[in-house]
């Protein structure tokens, strides 16, 4: 590890510890258990990776596999935290939640399938598999959060301030990573791939310093964005988390059964009139 990486690692470690401390102090595990678990997992992964680097070396094969596995574990936990955000408010509205969770699950399944196919088509390298899978999961995270917020807006609901900040943070880091990973993947699977896949070891030795510089630059961008994200999560956690809002009083089922078709019929008639209006 060079000086820059050491500095960035120490900084991100301090931020992650602060976030976990805030989550513990605010008893966030009662309201957001998966998000709390996500914060703990990223901290544990970092400590675990640090030990791996110490024992096996930063450029060892073990460190390489452990790093990419930890990236996938983080992505999995983040997905659970997003699922929790989806259920947080909508879960209280039984009727629409029954409809929406299927839609969101279907959308997630589509993205997972796409990620699997996308990864399948990559050159045979574990890092490129992980990078592609994680990149696709990052895009899926942003898309699902966007779908979730669209649904909230559509039904006149809104996330609580803390949940909104968590969503904004996940979106920011996921979008940054998706862009960064895409550029990296394009570099490594594009014109750099023949250099380290074929018999060009002498050429690769010359290019190694440039590769290290690219990695350093990306690490700096990624870690800075991640620290910013953790910073805004900590800022949102500075106040005690409000108690869970009580479930709304629901209407009798008959009201929906009677009114909804009537409203839709009227809306359809309205559209028909608009079409008539447009006829020459």
């Amino acid at each position: 590890m060079n000086h820059l990486e050491t500095f960035l690692s120490c900084s991100i470690f301090a931020f992650q510890v602060t976030l976990c401390a805030f989550l513990y102090a605010r008893k966030a595990q009662r309201i957001l258990p998966f998000f709390t678990a996500y914060a703990i997992v990223i901290l544990v992964n970092m400590i675990w990776l640090w030990f791996v680097y110490k024992v096996f070396g930063f450029l060892s094969v073990t460190a390489y596999f452990c790093y990419w596995i930890s990236i996938l574990v983080n992505a999995g936990m983040r997905s659970l935290a997003i699922a929790e955000l989806c259920r947080f408010k909508l879960g209280a509205y039984r009727g629409i939640w029954g409809l929406i969770w299927r839609g969101l699950a279907g959308l997630s399944a589509l993205f997972l399938l796409h990620a699997a196919f996308d990864t399948w088509g990559q050159p045979n390298r574990f890092a490129i598999y992980s990078l592609t899978l994680d990149r696709d999961l990052e895009i899926a995270s942003v898309a699902i959060l966007a779908a979730l917020l669209l649904i909230h807006n559509y039904y006149g609901l809104s996330l609580e301030p803390l949940q909104r900040t968590i969503a904004a943070g996940i979106c920011f880091i996921a979008a940054t990573d998706a862009i960064g990973y895409t550029i990296l993947q394009h570099l490594y699977t594009g014109f750099l791939f023949p250099i380290f896949s074929g018999n060009h070891s002498s050429l690769w030795r010359d290019l190694l310093p440039y590769s290290v510089r690219i990695n350093d630059l990306w690490s700096t961008v990624h870690v800075s964005c991640f620290m910013f994200t953790i910073g805004i999560w900590c800022y949102a956690l500075r106040k005690p988390i409000p108690a869970r809002v009580e479930a709304p009083e629901l209407l009798p089922s008959d009201v929906y059964r009677e009114l909804s078709p009537a409203i839709n019929m009227r809306l359809a008639t309205f559209n028909d009139r608009l079409v008539e209006l447009l006829k020459p």
Partner: protein, 185 residues
């Protein structure tokens, strides 16, 4: 999806959409989540009630009078302003429609069971309305939409609003009955 030219704009667009939704969600959170009380306070329609005055202002007799008696530049300006008034009125009708559609969504949110078909249908109808409204607005801006057709549309919104007001009164009565029943138990 390996091309940076696809992924990078997609990620930026999705983030922009999310940011916009987060900001608008923050504004709507101040209005509160759907509840019985928010159903009561929702105006079903208000703009259609002003149609007689608008009709007077946009009548062909008025236009004819202007063309015959006012200087050309004044008549032209007045006609342009009449179109702006009609556009404003159409915007009001859009608001009425949106409120009624919102009522449908709020009822869905507050229902223990919702129909997939009904919700999909309402979503498609709302999207279709947006497209049609834009086309009507363009025609009105171009000045070739007869007033009678606008009147026809207004009548429809009016009838719809009356029915919805009656439905709202029923829901309020039901709500009051539930609360009383709860207190009596």
């Amino acid at each position: 999806m390996n091309e940076p030219s696809i992924v990078i704009p997609l990620a930026i667009a999705l983030s922009g959409l999310l940011l916009w939704l987060l900001i608008s969600g923050r504004k709507s959170s101040r209005m509160g989540a759907p509840s019985y009380s928010s159903l009561d306070g929702l105006p079903t329609a208000k703009h259609y009630g002003y149609f007689p005055q608008i009709r007077q202002a946009l009548s062909e007799e008025d236009a004819q009078f202007l063309r015959e008696n006012a200087p050309p530049h004044v008549a032209k300006r007045a006609l342009r302003e009449r179109r702006a008034v009609a556009r404003g009125f159409l915007k009001g009708l859009h608001e009425d429609f949106s409120n009624l559609a919102r009522l449908g969504r709020m009822i869905a949110a507050l229902s223990p069971e919702v129909s997939h078909q009904q919700e999909t249908e309402r979503l498609i109808l709302s999207l279709k309305f947006q497209v049609l409204y834009s086309l009507v607005w363009l025609r009105l801006a171009a000045g070739n939409l007869p007033l009678e057709q606008l009147e026809h549309l207004t009548g429809l919104v009016g009838r719809l609003a009356t029915r919805m007001d009656a439905a709202m009164a029923e829901i309020s009565a039901l709500s009051a009955g539930q609360i009383q029943g709860g207190l009596g138990a």
